[in-house]
Protein backbone atom coordinates (compact mmCIF):
# COMPACT_ATOMS: atom_id res chain seq x y z
CA UNK A 1 0.00 0.00 0.00
CA UNK A 2 1.49 3.30 -1.06
CA UNK A 3 1.14 6.25 1.28
CA UNK A 4 1.49 9.95 0.68
CA UNK A 5 4.45 11.19 2.65
CA UNK A 6 4.72 14.62 4.26
CA UNK A 7 6.41 17.34 2.25
CA UNK A 8 10.05 16.41 2.10
CA UNK A 9 12.57 18.41 4.06
CA UNK A 10 15.67 18.22 1.88
CA UNK A 11 14.85 21.44 0.11
CA UNK A 12 15.73 23.52 3.15
CA UNK A 13 19.30 22.20 3.31
CA UNK A 14 22.21 24.13 1.93
CA UNK A 15 25.99 24.11 2.16
CA UNK A 16 28.51 21.58 0.82
CA UNK A 17 28.47 19.62 4.10
CA UNK A 18 24.94 18.46 3.36
CA UNK A 19 26.37 15.84 1.01
CA UNK A 20 28.44 14.13 3.68
CA UNK A 21 26.94 11.49 5.92
CA UNK A 22 25.22 12.62 9.11
CA UNK A 23 23.35 10.41 11.53
CA UNK A 24 20.42 12.83 11.98
CA UNK A 25 19.75 13.27 8.28
CA UNK A 26 20.09 9.49 7.72
CA UNK A 27 17.46 8.93 10.42
CA UNK A 28 15.15 11.51 8.88
CA UNK A 29 15.59 9.99 5.42
CA UNK A 30 14.83 6.48 6.71
CA UNK A 31 11.73 7.77 8.47
CA UNK A 32 10.49 9.38 5.27
CA UNK A 33 11.12 6.21 3.25
CA UNK A 34 9.14 4.23 5.83
CA UNK A 35 6.20 6.63 5.42
CA UNK A 36 6.17 5.98 1.68
CA UNK A 37 4.99 2.39 2.06
CA UNK A 38 7.45 1.34 -0.66
CA UNK A 39 9.86 -0.65 1.53
CA UNK A 40 9.95 -4.43 1.81
CA UNK A 41 10.20 -6.15 5.18
CA UNK A 42 13.70 -5.59 6.60
CA UNK A 43 16.33 -8.17 5.65
CA UNK A 44 19.36 -8.91 7.83
CA UNK A 45 22.72 -9.89 6.36
CA UNK A 46 25.63 -11.19 8.45
CA UNK A 47 29.08 -9.61 8.07
CA UNK A 48 30.76 -10.83 4.90
CA UNK A 49 27.50 -11.81 3.18
CA UNK A 50 27.07 -11.04 -0.47
CA UNK A 51 23.94 -8.89 -0.86
CA UNK A 52 24.22 -9.43 -4.56
CA UNK A 53 26.93 -10.60 -6.92
CA UNK A 54 28.04 -8.61 -9.94
CA UNK A 55 26.56 -11.29 -12.18
CA UNK A 56 23.17 -10.92 -10.53
CA UNK A 57 22.75 -7.20 -10.05
CA UNK A 58 19.05 -6.49 -9.40
CA UNK A 59 16.89 -3.79 -10.99
CA UNK A 60 15.33 -3.04 -7.61
CA UNK A 61 16.86 -0.49 -5.27
CA UNK A 62 18.04 -1.23 -1.73
CA UNK A 63 18.00 1.07 1.27
CA UNK A 64 20.47 0.51 4.07
CA UNK A 65 19.21 1.11 7.60
CA UNK A 66 22.00 -0.36 9.72
CA UNK A 67 25.59 -1.37 9.09
CA UNK A 68 28.04 -0.68 6.28
CA UNK A 69 28.05 -2.20 2.81
CA UNK A 70 30.86 -2.11 0.28
CA UNK A 71 30.89 -2.00 -3.51
CA UNK A 72 33.47 -4.46 -4.69
CA UNK A 73 35.08 -5.64 -7.88
CA UNK A 74 37.28 -8.69 -7.97
CA UNK A 75 40.63 -7.83 -6.37
CA UNK A 76 43.19 -6.94 -9.03
CA UNK A 77 46.06 -8.42 -7.04
CA UNK A 78 46.43 -10.15 -3.69
CA UNK A 79 47.81 -6.97 -2.20
CA UNK A 80 45.15 -4.69 -3.65
CA UNK A 81 41.58 -4.70 -2.40
CA UNK A 82 38.57 -4.89 -4.70
CA UNK A 83 36.56 -2.54 -2.50
CA UNK A 84 36.09 0.84 -4.12
CA UNK A 85 33.33 2.59 -2.20
CA UNK A 86 31.14 2.29 0.87
CA UNK A 87 27.43 2.77 1.39
CA UNK A 88 26.22 4.09 4.75
CA UNK A 89 22.78 4.05 6.44
CA UNK A 90 20.09 6.05 4.66
CA UNK A 91 21.80 5.57 1.29
CA UNK A 92 20.44 3.73 -1.73
CA UNK A 93 22.26 1.10 -3.73
CA UNK A 94 21.40 -1.54 -6.33
CA UNK A 95 19.03 -0.29 -9.06
CA UNK A 96 21.16 -1.85 -11.79
CA UNK A 97 20.15 -0.01 -14.95
CA UNK A 98 20.79 -2.97 -17.27
CA UNK A 99 22.84 -3.28 -20.42
CA UNK A 100 26.24 -2.48 -18.92
CA UNK A 101 29.45 -4.26 -19.83
CA UNK A 102 30.88 -6.70 -17.33
CA UNK A 103 33.77 -4.43 -16.43
CA UNK A 104 31.39 -1.80 -15.08
CA UNK A 105 29.51 -4.12 -12.75
CA UNK A 106 30.22 -4.47 -9.08
CA UNK A 107 29.05 -6.72 -6.31
CA UNK A 108 27.74 -5.51 -2.98
CA UNK A 109 28.78 -7.11 0.30
CA UNK A 110 27.84 -6.52 3.92
CA UNK A 111 30.95 -5.40 5.80
CA UNK A 112 29.14 -5.62 9.11
CA UNK A 113 25.79 -7.08 10.10
CA UNK A 114 23.39 -5.08 7.96
CA UNK A 115 19.70 -4.30 7.89
CA UNK A 116 18.46 -3.60 4.40
CA UNK A 117 15.11 -2.89 2.72
CA UNK A 118 14.36 -3.77 -0.87
CA UNK A 119 12.42 -1.20 -2.88
CA UNK A 120 10.63 -2.70 -5.83
CA UNK A 121 11.34 -0.87 -9.08
CA UNK A 122 7.75 -1.47 -10.22
CA UNK A 123 6.36 0.04 -7.05
CA UNK A 124 8.57 3.08 -7.45
CA UNK A 125 7.53 3.54 -11.07
CA UNK A 126 3.86 3.31 -10.02
CA UNK A 127 4.45 5.96 -7.34
CA UNK A 128 6.15 8.24 -9.85
CA UNK A 129 3.29 7.84 -12.32
CA UNK A 130 0.86 8.73 -9.56
CA UNK A 131 2.79 11.86 -8.55
CA UNK A 132 2.42 13.85 -5.33
CA UNK A 133 4.98 14.31 -2.56
CA UNK A 134 6.01 10.65 -2.72
CA UNK A 135 7.05 11.03 -6.36
CA UNK A 136 9.04 14.17 -5.55
CA UNK A 137 10.63 12.42 -2.57
CA UNK A 138 11.82 9.52 -4.74
CA UNK A 139 13.37 11.82 -7.36
CA UNK A 140 14.99 13.96 -4.64
CA UNK A 141 16.40 10.91 -2.88
CA UNK A 142 18.04 9.66 -6.06
CA UNK A 143 19.38 13.12 -6.77
CA UNK A 144 20.65 13.54 -3.22
CA UNK A 145 22.38 10.14 -3.28
CA UNK A 146 23.93 11.05 -6.60
CA UNK A 147 25.27 14.37 -5.33
CA UNK A 148 26.64 12.63 -2.23
CA UNK A 149 28.52 10.22 -4.51
CA UNK A 150 29.81 13.16 -6.55
CA UNK A 151 30.86 15.07 -3.46
CA UNK A 152 32.75 11.97 -2.35
CA UNK A 153 34.44 11.64 -5.73
CA UNK A 154 35.37 15.32 -5.68
CA UNK A 155 36.77 15.08 -2.16
CA UNK A 156 39.90 13.41 -3.47
CA UNK A 157 40.71 16.62 -5.36
CA UNK A 158 39.80 19.04 -2.63
CA UNK A 159 41.22 17.36 0.47
CA UNK A 160 44.52 15.73 1.23
CA UNK A 161 44.66 11.99 1.86
CA UNK A 162 45.29 12.44 5.59
CA UNK A 163 42.19 14.62 5.97
CA UNK A 164 40.15 12.11 3.99
CA UNK A 165 41.36 9.20 6.16
CA UNK A 166 40.45 11.15 9.28
CA UNK A 167 37.03 11.99 7.83
CA UNK A 168 36.44 8.35 6.82
CA UNK A 169 37.33 7.09 10.30
CA UNK A 170 35.06 9.68 11.91
CA UNK A 171 32.17 8.65 9.65
CA UNK A 172 32.75 4.97 10.38
CA UNK A 173 32.92 5.71 14.10
CA UNK A 174 29.44 7.20 14.01
CA UNK A 175 28.02 4.41 11.85
CA UNK A 176 29.58 1.31 13.41
CA UNK A 177 27.77 0.05 16.44
CA UNK A 178 29.71 -3.13 17.24
CA UNK A 179 32.09 -2.75 20.13
CA UNK A 180 35.17 -4.92 20.60
CA UNK A 181 37.59 -5.25 23.54
CA UNK A 182 37.41 -2.37 26.03
CA UNK A 183 34.66 -0.63 24.07
CA UNK A 184 36.74 -0.20 20.92
CA UNK A 185 34.82 0.23 17.68
CA UNK A 186 35.15 -2.87 15.55
CA UNK A 187 36.57 -1.71 12.23
CA UNK A 188 35.87 -4.30 9.52
CA UNK A 189 38.42 -2.98 7.04
CA UNK A 190 42.00 -3.98 6.46
CA UNK A 191 44.60 -1.37 5.61
CA UNK A 192 44.53 -2.35 1.94
CA UNK A 193 40.75 -1.85 1.92
CA UNK A 194 41.02 1.56 3.55
CA UNK A 195 43.65 2.36 0.92
CA UNK A 196 41.23 1.26 -1.82
CA UNK A 197 38.46 3.49 -0.51
CA UNK A 198 40.87 6.43 -0.41
CA UNK A 199 42.06 5.67 -3.94
CA UNK A 200 45.68 5.11 -2.97
CA UNK A 201 48.00 2.10 -3.00
CA UNK A 202 48.62 0.06 0.17
CA UNK A 203 52.21 1.33 0.09
CA UNK A 204 51.05 4.95 0.02
CA UNK A 205 48.64 4.14 2.84
CA UNK A 206 51.52 2.85 5.01
CA UNK A 207 53.43 6.07 4.44
CA UNK A 208 50.37 8.22 5.28
CA UNK A 209 49.73 6.20 8.42
CA UNK A 210 53.31 6.58 9.60
CA UNK A 211 53.17 10.32 8.99
CA UNK A 212 49.90 10.61 10.93
CA UNK A 213 51.43 8.56 13.75
CA UNK A 214 54.34 11.00 13.78
CA UNK A 215 51.89 13.90 13.95
CA UNK A 216 50.07 12.10 16.80
CA UNK A 217 46.76 12.15 14.93
CA UNK A 218 46.54 8.37 15.01
CA UNK A 219 48.22 5.74 17.12
CA UNK A 220 48.59 2.06 16.25
CA UNK A 221 49.27 -0.49 18.98
CA UNK A 222 48.46 -4.00 20.20
CA UNK A 223 50.10 -5.88 17.29
CA UNK A 224 48.80 -3.00 15.19
CA UNK A 225 45.20 -4.22 15.24
CA UNK A 226 44.23 -1.30 17.45
CA UNK A 227 43.99 2.17 16.06
CA UNK A 228 43.27 5.37 17.93
CA UNK A 229 42.25 8.60 16.25
CA UNK A 230 42.53 11.98 17.91
CA UNK A 231 40.12 14.45 16.39
CA UNK A 232 38.65 17.65 17.80
CA UNK A 233 39.85 16.90 21.33
CA UNK A 234 38.29 13.44 21.35
CA UNK A 235 40.03 10.07 21.17
CA UNK A 236 38.27 7.34 19.22
CA UNK A 237 39.57 3.80 19.49
CA UNK A 238 39.15 1.17 16.81
CA UNK A 239 39.77 -2.54 16.94
CA UNK A 240 40.47 -3.94 13.48
CA UNK A 241 38.48 -7.06 12.69
CA UNK A 242 40.39 -9.16 10.19
CA UNK A 243 39.24 -12.00 8.04
CA UNK A 244 35.62 -10.97 7.40
CA UNK A 245 34.98 -14.13 5.40
CA UNK A 246 32.91 -13.73 2.24
CA UNK A 247 29.77 -15.82 2.37
CA UNK A 248 27.16 -16.44 -0.31
CA UNK A 249 23.99 -14.39 -0.42
CA UNK A 250 21.82 -15.20 2.55
CA UNK A 251 19.40 -12.88 4.18
CA UNK A 252 17.08 -13.37 7.05
CA UNK A 253 14.02 -11.42 7.97
CA UNK A 254 14.43 -12.25 11.64
Amino acid sequence: MMNEIPTMTLSSQTGPGVFFWRKESARSTLWQWKQSGLLSAPQWYPAGASIFARSAAPRDAFLLERGVVAFERDPVTREKSGIGALCLPGNLFGHYPGGLADDSLHSVIALTRCMVYRISREKMLAALQKGGETALFIVCQYLHNLLCARARATESSTKGTKARLEHLLLELASVLEDRGPAGCIRLPLKDKELAGILGISPQQFSVIKKEMEGEKVIACFGQRNKLALRSGGAKIQFFKVYGCKRIPSIASSA
Partner: protein, 239 residues
Protein backbone atom coordinates in the same frame (compact mmCIF):
# COMPACT_ATOMS: atom_id res chain seq x y z
CA UNK B 1 35.63 -11.95 -16.42
CA UNK B 2 39.14 -10.69 -15.99
CA UNK B 3 39.12 -6.91 -15.94
CA UNK B 4 42.54 -6.56 -17.50
CA UNK B 5 41.64 -8.86 -20.38
CA UNK B 6 38.77 -6.61 -21.26
CA UNK B 7 41.05 -3.65 -21.56
CA UNK B 8 43.68 -5.58 -23.47
CA UNK B 9 41.07 -6.13 -26.14
CA UNK B 10 41.19 -9.90 -25.61
CA UNK B 11 37.58 -10.16 -24.63
CA UNK B 12 34.60 -10.63 -26.88
CA UNK B 13 32.52 -8.44 -24.64
CA UNK B 14 31.77 -4.95 -25.88
CA UNK B 15 33.99 -2.86 -23.61
CA UNK B 16 31.49 -0.04 -23.55
CA UNK B 17 29.98 0.61 -20.20
CA UNK B 18 28.19 3.85 -20.84
CA UNK B 19 25.09 2.89 -22.68
CA UNK B 20 23.85 6.08 -24.26
CA UNK B 21 21.35 4.21 -26.39
CA UNK B 22 19.23 3.75 -23.31
CA UNK B 23 18.43 7.46 -23.49
CA UNK B 24 17.68 7.51 -27.20
CA UNK B 25 13.92 7.08 -26.76
CA UNK B 26 13.76 9.44 -23.83
CA UNK B 27 14.16 12.57 -25.95
CA UNK B 28 10.81 11.94 -27.64
CA UNK B 29 9.21 11.35 -24.25
CA UNK B 30 10.67 14.62 -22.92
CA UNK B 31 9.59 16.47 -26.08
CA UNK B 32 6.02 15.33 -25.56
CA UNK B 33 6.14 16.82 -22.05
CA UNK B 34 8.03 19.99 -22.85
CA UNK B 35 6.27 20.86 -26.10
CA UNK B 36 7.75 23.35 -28.53
CA UNK B 37 7.51 26.37 -26.28
CA UNK B 38 10.81 25.97 -24.41
CA UNK B 39 13.58 28.07 -25.93
CA UNK B 40 16.27 26.30 -27.93
CA UNK B 41 19.94 27.19 -27.66
CA UNK B 42 22.72 26.12 -30.01
CA UNK B 43 26.36 26.26 -28.99
CA UNK B 44 29.80 25.13 -30.05
CA UNK B 45 32.51 23.13 -28.25
CA UNK B 46 33.84 24.50 -24.94
CA UNK B 47 30.81 26.79 -24.48
CA UNK B 48 30.01 27.09 -20.79
CA UNK B 49 26.27 26.49 -20.42
CA UNK B 50 26.02 26.28 -16.68
CA UNK B 51 28.16 27.85 -14.00
CA UNK B 52 27.81 29.12 -10.45
CA UNK B 53 26.43 32.37 -11.84
CA UNK B 54 23.61 30.72 -13.78
CA UNK B 55 20.04 31.26 -12.58
CA UNK B 56 19.21 28.53 -10.06
CA UNK B 57 15.94 27.64 -11.78
CA UNK B 58 17.49 27.03 -15.18
CA UNK B 59 17.93 23.49 -16.37
CA UNK B 60 18.48 21.98 -19.79
CA UNK B 61 17.34 19.10 -21.93
CA UNK B 62 19.99 17.91 -24.39
CA UNK B 63 18.62 17.45 -27.89
CA UNK B 64 21.91 17.03 -29.76
CA UNK B 65 25.59 16.79 -28.86
CA UNK B 66 27.66 15.91 -25.83
CA UNK B 67 28.38 17.97 -22.72
CA UNK B 68 30.63 17.46 -19.72
CA UNK B 69 29.42 18.12 -16.20
CA UNK B 70 32.22 19.10 -13.87
CA UNK B 71 32.80 20.60 -10.49
CA UNK B 72 35.00 23.69 -10.39
CA UNK B 73 37.28 24.00 -7.40
CA UNK B 74 38.37 27.25 -5.82
CA UNK B 75 41.89 26.44 -7.04
CA UNK B 76 40.69 26.79 -10.63
CA UNK B 77 41.00 23.05 -11.19
CA UNK B 78 37.96 21.17 -12.43
CA UNK B 79 36.85 17.66 -11.60
CA UNK B 80 35.07 15.85 -14.38
CA UNK B 81 31.87 14.21 -13.20
CA UNK B 82 29.98 12.79 -16.14
CA UNK B 83 28.79 13.27 -19.69
CA UNK B 84 25.36 14.43 -20.77
CA UNK B 85 23.90 13.65 -24.17
CA UNK B 86 20.66 13.35 -26.14
CA UNK B 87 17.59 12.89 -23.97
CA UNK B 88 19.26 13.80 -20.66
CA UNK B 89 18.45 16.67 -18.34
CA UNK B 90 20.96 18.64 -16.26
CA UNK B 91 21.07 21.69 -14.01
CA UNK B 92 17.85 20.88 -12.12
CA UNK B 93 19.47 19.64 -8.91
CA UNK B 94 20.33 23.18 -7.73
CA UNK B 95 16.67 24.18 -7.55
CA UNK B 96 15.16 20.79 -6.69
CA UNK B 97 17.47 20.25 -3.70
CA UNK B 98 18.40 23.91 -3.13
CA UNK B 99 22.03 22.95 -2.73
CA UNK B 100 25.31 24.71 -3.23
CA UNK B 101 27.35 21.93 -4.83
CA UNK B 102 28.46 23.92 -7.83
CA UNK B 103 28.21 22.17 -11.13
CA UNK B 104 29.33 23.53 -14.41
CA UNK B 105 28.39 22.21 -17.82
CA UNK B 106 30.38 22.79 -20.96
CA UNK B 107 29.68 21.63 -24.47
CA UNK B 108 32.19 19.16 -25.85
CA UNK B 109 30.68 19.15 -29.35
CA UNK B 110 28.18 21.28 -31.24
CA UNK B 111 25.08 21.06 -29.09
CA UNK B 112 21.39 21.82 -29.23
CA UNK B 113 19.75 22.19 -25.83
CA UNK B 114 16.28 23.20 -24.75
CA UNK B 115 16.02 25.46 -21.71
CA UNK B 116 13.68 24.36 -18.94
CA UNK B 117 12.42 25.97 -15.77
CA UNK B 118 13.32 23.66 -12.86
CA UNK B 119 10.13 24.65 -11.04
CA UNK B 120 8.20 23.34 -14.05
CA UNK B 121 10.04 20.03 -13.57
CA UNK B 122 9.02 19.90 -9.90
CA UNK B 123 5.40 20.63 -10.83
CA UNK B 124 5.52 17.87 -13.45
CA UNK B 125 6.86 15.36 -10.90
CA UNK B 126 4.17 16.32 -8.39
CA UNK B 127 1.52 16.06 -11.10
CA UNK B 128 2.50 12.46 -11.88
CA UNK B 129 3.35 10.93 -15.24
CA UNK B 130 6.49 10.55 -17.26
CA UNK B 131 8.72 13.38 -15.93
CA UNK B 132 9.37 11.69 -12.57
CA UNK B 133 9.91 8.33 -14.27
CA UNK B 134 12.39 9.80 -16.76
CA UNK B 135 14.34 11.62 -14.06
CA UNK B 136 14.42 8.61 -11.78
CA UNK B 137 15.71 6.42 -14.62
CA UNK B 138 18.43 8.94 -15.43
CA UNK B 139 19.45 9.33 -11.78
CA UNK B 140 19.43 5.58 -11.13
CA UNK B 141 21.75 5.08 -14.09
CA UNK B 142 24.01 7.91 -12.90
CA UNK B 143 24.09 6.56 -9.37
CA UNK B 144 25.12 3.08 -10.46
CA UNK B 145 27.65 4.56 -12.87
CA UNK B 146 29.09 6.88 -10.19
CA UNK B 147 29.91 3.89 -7.99
CA UNK B 148 31.60 2.23 -10.97
CA UNK B 149 33.50 5.43 -11.74
CA UNK B 150 34.81 5.57 -8.16
CA UNK B 151 36.01 1.99 -8.45
CA UNK B 152 37.57 2.79 -11.86
CA UNK B 153 39.50 5.64 -10.30
CA UNK B 154 41.11 3.16 -7.93
CA UNK B 155 41.54 0.20 -10.26
CA UNK B 156 42.25 1.74 -13.65
CA UNK B 157 45.33 3.69 -14.56
CA UNK B 158 45.11 6.96 -16.51
CA UNK B 159 45.48 5.22 -19.90
CA UNK B 160 42.57 2.87 -19.20
CA UNK B 161 40.51 5.82 -18.00
CA UNK B 162 41.30 7.83 -21.14
CA UNK B 163 40.28 4.89 -23.31
CA UNK B 164 37.12 4.44 -21.31
CA UNK B 165 36.35 8.15 -21.56
CA UNK B 166 36.78 8.01 -25.34
CA UNK B 167 34.47 4.98 -25.51
CA UNK B 168 31.87 6.83 -23.46
CA UNK B 169 32.26 9.90 -25.60
CA UNK B 170 31.85 7.80 -28.77
CA UNK B 171 28.68 6.28 -27.38
CA UNK B 172 27.35 9.68 -26.31
CA UNK B 173 28.11 11.12 -29.75
CA UNK B 174 26.26 8.25 -31.39
CA UNK B 175 29.30 6.64 -33.06
CA UNK B 176 28.33 3.09 -34.08
CA UNK B 177 30.35 0.46 -32.25
CA UNK B 178 32.80 -1.59 -34.29
CA UNK B 179 36.33 -2.95 -34.22
CA UNK B 180 37.62 0.51 -35.06
CA UNK B 181 35.70 3.54 -33.91
CA UNK B 182 36.47 7.00 -35.26
CA UNK B 183 35.54 9.71 -32.82
CA UNK B 184 35.84 13.41 -33.53
CA UNK B 185 36.71 15.07 -30.25
CA UNK B 186 37.15 18.82 -30.73
CA UNK B 187 39.06 19.29 -27.48
CA UNK B 188 42.66 20.15 -26.80
CA UNK B 189 44.96 17.71 -25.01
CA UNK B 190 45.13 20.12 -22.09
CA UNK B 191 41.36 20.14 -21.72
CA UNK B 192 41.17 16.34 -21.88
CA UNK B 193 44.01 16.07 -19.35
CA UNK B 194 42.12 18.32 -16.94
CA UNK B 195 38.96 16.23 -17.41
CA UNK B 196 40.94 13.14 -16.41
CA UNK B 197 42.65 14.95 -13.54
CA UNK B 198 46.19 14.47 -14.89
CA UNK B 199 48.89 16.87 -16.05
CA UNK B 200 49.50 17.62 -19.75
CA UNK B 201 52.84 15.79 -19.45
CA UNK B 202 51.15 12.69 -18.05
CA UNK B 203 48.54 12.98 -20.80
CA UNK B 204 51.21 12.86 -23.52
CA UNK B 205 52.75 9.79 -21.90
CA UNK B 206 49.35 8.12 -21.66
CA UNK B 207 48.66 8.82 -25.33
CA UNK B 208 52.04 7.36 -26.35
CA UNK B 209 51.40 4.26 -24.25
CA UNK B 210 47.97 3.66 -25.79
CA UNK B 211 49.35 4.18 -29.31
CA UNK B 212 52.26 1.80 -28.73
CA UNK B 213 49.83 -0.82 -27.41
CA UNK B 214 47.70 -0.39 -30.52
CA UNK B 215 44.61 0.61 -28.59
CA UNK B 216 44.08 4.27 -29.43
CA UNK B 217 45.43 6.59 -32.11
CA UNK B 218 45.09 10.35 -32.14
CA UNK B 219 45.11 12.21 -35.45
CA UNK B 220 45.62 15.67 -34.09
CA UNK B 221 45.10 17.64 -37.32
CA UNK B 222 41.67 16.05 -37.78
CA UNK B 223 40.80 16.20 -34.06
CA UNK B 224 39.99 12.52 -34.40
CA UNK B 225 40.67 9.60 -32.12
CA UNK B 226 40.61 6.05 -33.46
CA UNK B 227 39.76 3.48 -30.83
CA UNK B 228 40.48 -0.17 -31.39
CA UNK B 229 37.92 -2.39 -29.68
CA UNK B 230 37.74 -6.22 -29.89
CA UNK B 231 40.61 -8.26 -31.34
CA UNK B 232 41.87 -5.81 -33.90
CA UNK B 233 44.70 -3.60 -32.77
CA UNK B 234 46.78 -1.12 -34.70
CA UNK B 235 50.16 -2.32 -35.87
CA UNK B 236 51.70 1.07 -36.48
CA UNK B 237 52.65 3.57 -33.85
CA UNK B 238 51.45 7.07 -34.33
CA UNK B 239 52.57 9.86 -32.07
Amino acid sequence: MDLMNTWNGQSNAEPLSWNVHRFAGTLDRWRRLVGETAAVRRCGPETLLLSENSPARRSYLVEEGVLALSHHLSTGKQVFLTLRSRGQVFGHSRHVLNHSFELSASALTDCVVRMLDSQWLIDQIRGGGDAGVLLMEQHAFDLYESASALIDLIHLDASARLRKFLMQFAAAAGVPSGEEMLVKVPLTDGYLASLLGISPQQFSAVKRKLASEGKVRHIREKQTWIISTGHHQFTETVA
